[in-house]
Symmetry: C2
Subunit: 166 residues, 2 copies
């Protein structure tokens, strides 16, 4: 016999799912400018607030790269605010039979949301994207202090990162 539809039970069910998933990890979307995206990035690197126009323009440029660029964010279900973000850029090379390399960039977790495994979940999702895209490796640069976090995510120390600032 078919169960009669019970809107209260259905709502409770949806609530239970939301409670189980305190954070929803999903691709960046255009509404995220008003959900604290720049404030979150500012915890990583200087990121003054972007105008709607500047955000939309960069969003469109990155969307044009298709699967070669993915920004994931973690939205806190209870508040609708962003608690983490990270990006994967796929580089097309000639070496290794025109191999692909994933560059993990700009990973940040809101200070109030740290210590709950959210960063690792986000990093693993981005790594899975690179694997699915056919990359032979993913690389990242980090400070010495973050080596332990990335080791937990499956990374090994490989080389030295050097920089030249204009």
């Amino acid at each position: 016999m078919e169960q009669p539809h019970d809107p209260v039970a259905a709502e409770a069910g949806a609530g239970a799912v939301a409670a189980g998933e305190a954070y929803i990890i999903r691709p960046l979307d255009l509404a995220d400018l008003s959900k604290g995206f720049c404030e979150l990035l500012a915890q990583l690197s200087p990121s003054p607030p972007l105008s709607e126009e500047a955000f939309r323009a960069r969003f469109a440029e990155l969307a044009a790269l298709g699967a070669d660029h993915l920004v994931l964010v973690a939205e806190e279900a209870a508040t609708g605010r962003l608690a983490a973000a990270g990006a994967m850029l796929v580089e097309r090379k000639f070496i290794r039979r025109c191999g692909l390399v994933g560059h993990l960039e700009d990973v940040v977790v809101d200070a109030a949301a740290r210590g709950r495994g959210l960063g690792e979940r986000l990093v693993r999702r981005l790594v899975e994207h690179a694997r699915g895209r056919g990359c032979y490796k993913v690389i990242l640069n980090c400070t010495t202090e973050l080596k332990g976090f990335y080791a937990k995510c499956g990374f090994e120390e490989k080389n030295v990162q050097m920089g030249l600032y204009f």
Copy 2:
């Protein structure tokens, strides 16, 4: 009085220029597959020979990125063979007011052409491209042994590079 044209002198002049520039640095082109491009890359990383079709397809994908991707090569004037190569990938970010970062990748100098400053010339040309494109920095990853070379090119050690291989 106008000088009479002297083809011998003109040729000697052209020869003098060629002698001064033993290597011509220029963007990669489609003819470079037959000028030793894959053999050169194989000195950096496993790079089995590419078919004409695979090379052209990747070349077209990278060309579609416009100024966001540049491969420079150094061609030996005397032989027409490639003696060095390197690439600059421009990453579009949201941080730093939608800042741009140049990634210096796959720099290689033929073993027989090392020790003549060719690598540094090539790197500086790629860095100038990134500067002209508006990047706020250029970053690269290298082994400890190459830190001195890149320091000579203007880079400073910044962070740790970590990798995850599939």
